[in-house]
């Protein structure tokens, strides 16, 4: 009987493939694409301000509301934050990834790998809260700044509205630091993977042909690991765009996209506006990916 079944499937490889692919495809279509379409549809409805009910009629007035200066500022603020977090992550992740990929002994590599991914084992919220303690007014950083008599500098820095706030724990700088901290593993791993795929002989060949290590980095290593950088940046960029917990905990009164969505759909029940807001990151991500493609990030895929 079992034999007959296996023969049946052996003769029909396409059927086997279909059976394997059906669950993930179904999940993807219904849950993911379905949710996106629902969002898109909702964003074309509007909230009746008088009754507080969602009116299911096609309209562009929600988008008109979305594009008022305050909201555009939210988009700009979030995008700039995402870009800065991404750049900082690349700068921090690259040397680490390079070390893991090229120099670490196999044993060391395992340990570093664990060390990089270890934070992902504990709850995101716990880790974010622990930063509250580090960044708070009476926290470690303030204490240390006082110790080395740089508290004046810290206060001067915090007095600037663009980056500062009452304390590091309530400031854009705080948000930035925590974002970089929590998304860093997502940058290290893809870069490390990309660097590991660059054969050692290519680096040797470059040196052999007269290139100094700096030149080799620029002309060989960086272009070849660029897909990894882009893959990592897709994580850091999109995760920063959509996150609402970190701005909620460390933010001043300025909104970020995630927080805006939460407020509109949770607090005020304005689901159409929340949906329209969600379209923002999607559009930004599409633009981002198009730019990445233009830079040749996907040529190697």
């Amino acid at each position: 009987m079992l034999n007959r079944v296996s023969t049946f499937f052996y003769k029909r490889p396409r059927l086997v493939l279909a059976l394997f692919l059906a669950p993930p495809l179904l999940w993807f279509l219904v849950v993911y694409i379905g949710a996106l379409i629902t969002l898109l549809i909702n964003s074309f409805f509007y909230l009746d301000g008088f009754t507080g009910q969602v009116v299911r009629e096609f309209t562009l007035q929600t988008y008109a509301k979305l594009l008022i200066p305050t909201n555009l500022q939210i988009f700009a603020r979030t995008t700039v934050m995402a870009i800065l977090v991404t750049i900082a992550s690349v700068i921090l992740a690259f040397p680490l990834a390079y070390y893991i990929a090229r120099f670490a002994s196999p044993r060391m590599k395992t340990w570093l790998y664990v060390a990089v991914t270890l934070p992902l084992w504990t709850s995101y919220v716990v880790r974010v809260y622990s930063w509250k303690l580090i960044l708070a007014q009476e926290g470690i950083i303030s204490w240390f700044a006082q110790l080395i008599h740089l508290d004046g500098l810290l206060n001067w820095y915090l007095s600037h509205d663009l980056v500062g706030g009452p304390s590091l724990a309530v400031s854009p700088t705080g948000i930035f630091i925590v974002f970089v901290y929590i998304w860093l593993p997502y940058m290290v791993i893809p870069i490390q993977t990309a660097l590991e795929r660059v054969p050692k002989s290519l680096i040797e060949a470059s040196g052999d042909l007269g290139a100094t290590p700096a030149q080799t980095f620029r002309t060989v290593l960086l272009p070849l690991s660029f897909p990894g950088v882009v893959a990592g940046s897709i994580f850091t960029f999109s995760l920063t765009l959509g996150d609402f917990i970190v701005p909620q905990l460390f933010g001043t009164s300025s909104f970020y996209i995630g927080k805006a969505v939460l407020t509109y759909q949770g607090t005020s029940g304005n689901i159409p506006l929340a949906a329209a807001f969600t379209m923002g990151p999607i559009v930004i991500m599409i633009v981002y990916l198009l730019i990445a493609r233009k830079l040749g990030a996907f040529d190697a895929l």
């Binding site: 040797e204 060949a205 040196g207 052999d208 002309t219």
Partner: protein
């Protein structure tokens, strides 16, 4: 001084306990095609890498045209390498690959393009400049790697088993081509290989490596016909070693000797041996018909085997296989014996 391209002075390279290269003394002449031959792990590649600068000697000196380069980084050495896996930059076109060294040197685009074009002609790939390495066959990539190295006019070109990945036909063709290119450019070539036939075909001189040491340096004919150690006798060509009592019986001395299979004449009837010949008696244990020639395994009286190869000038497979099990006499010239010691 100018006649010496490379000089190894007591060079050793240890990896922990392992002596990859052990006290090597070597002199390579200017303009010669020099092969480093040996099994994997014999230290030949490590020697090459130390000349290139990818590895540094644990002790000793490497002198390149009178200059001690032992501690120079690769990018400051006037040598270039053709890698075993070619190591072409996958994100660059063929033109960019070949012009890479010139680009690094800051040579203007026009001159670069012109010299790349010349190189493409030299390696018979004109018109391939705009392709990517992935669009080329193994043999073509190999020639690009050669062009990329040669364009920099290195004083020495290092080749690390560059033909290893090619199939037999292409390999034989590239052997001839490499030799021609070397004659044309007149640069010292150092060629690492584990393939004795390849080394014999192309080289002016060969160094045979074993366990981090050089066993013998000499011309192909020297190394083949007069191996100085049992290892060389065995690694270059087929090992036909005879020693002890059996050797005593044949040559009158118990010194270990080696004789090449094709030098031995297999006499089927009672032939008279000339005075400059050694004679041995035995019986044919195995016969392998190989078309062009036949290989016989002859068990000697008193123990030990000799491999004998004879061309099938007048014989067919029917004739030769019939010899199996028969008693035979073996003749070979006394000159063709090498006493290998050990």
């Amino acid at each position: 001084m100018s006649d010496t391209a490379i000089l190894f002075k007591n060079v050793s390279r240890h990896f922990g306990e392992i002596r990859a290269v052990d006290n090597v003394e070597l002199e390579i002449n200017d303009g010669e095609f020099f092969s480093m031959l040996g099994p994997s792990g014999s230290g030949k590649t490590t020697c090459l890498r130390m000349i290139a600068g990818f590895d540094r000697p644990t002790s000793g000196q490497i002198i390149l045209y009178g200059q001690d380069v032992s501690n120079l980084p690769p990018y400051e050495r006037p040598v270039n390498t053709v890698f075993q896996d070619y190591a072409l930059f996958p994100h660059m076109t063929i033109e960019e690959n070949i012009g890479y060294g010139l680009m690094i040197k800051g040579i203007a685009k026009d001159e670069r393009a012109q010299r790349v074009e010349e190189m493409l002609k030299l390696v018979r790939l004109p018109g391939y400049g705009q392709r990517k390495p992935s669009q080329l066959s193994g043999g073509q990539r190999q020639r690009v790697a050669l062009a990329r190295a040669l364009i920099n006019h290195p004083k020495v070109l290092l080749l690390d088993e560059p033909l290893g990945a090619l199939d037999l036909k292409l390999r034989q063709q590239m052997q001839v081509e490499l030799k021609n290119i070397q004659r044309e450019v007149g640069i010292t070539f150092i060629f690492v290989t584990h393939d004795q036939e390849e080394a014999l075909t192309m080289s002016d001189r060969i160094a045979v490596f074993n366990e981090g040491k050089i066993e013998q340096v000499g011309s192909p004919a020297d190394v083949y016909e007069h191996p100085s150690t049992p290892f060389v006798a065995g690694f270059v060509g087929t090992s036909n070693l005879v020693s002890g009592e059996v050797a005593q019986r044949i040559t009158g001395s118990s010194k270990r000797f080696s004789v090449r299979p094709e030098k031995i004449h297999l006499a089927k009837s009672n032939e008279q041996a000339a005075s400059d010949m050694f004679v041995a008696n035995g019986s044919v244990r195995d016969v392998v018909y190989l078309g062009l020639y036949t290989r016989y395994l002859v068990e000697l009286e008193g123990g030990g085997d000799l491999v004998v190869v004879e061309q099938n000038l007048k014989t067919t497979s029917m004739d030769v296989t019939g010899v199996k099990g028969q008693k035979v006499q073996l003749f070979w010239k006394k000159d063709h014996v090498s006493y290998v010691g050990g």
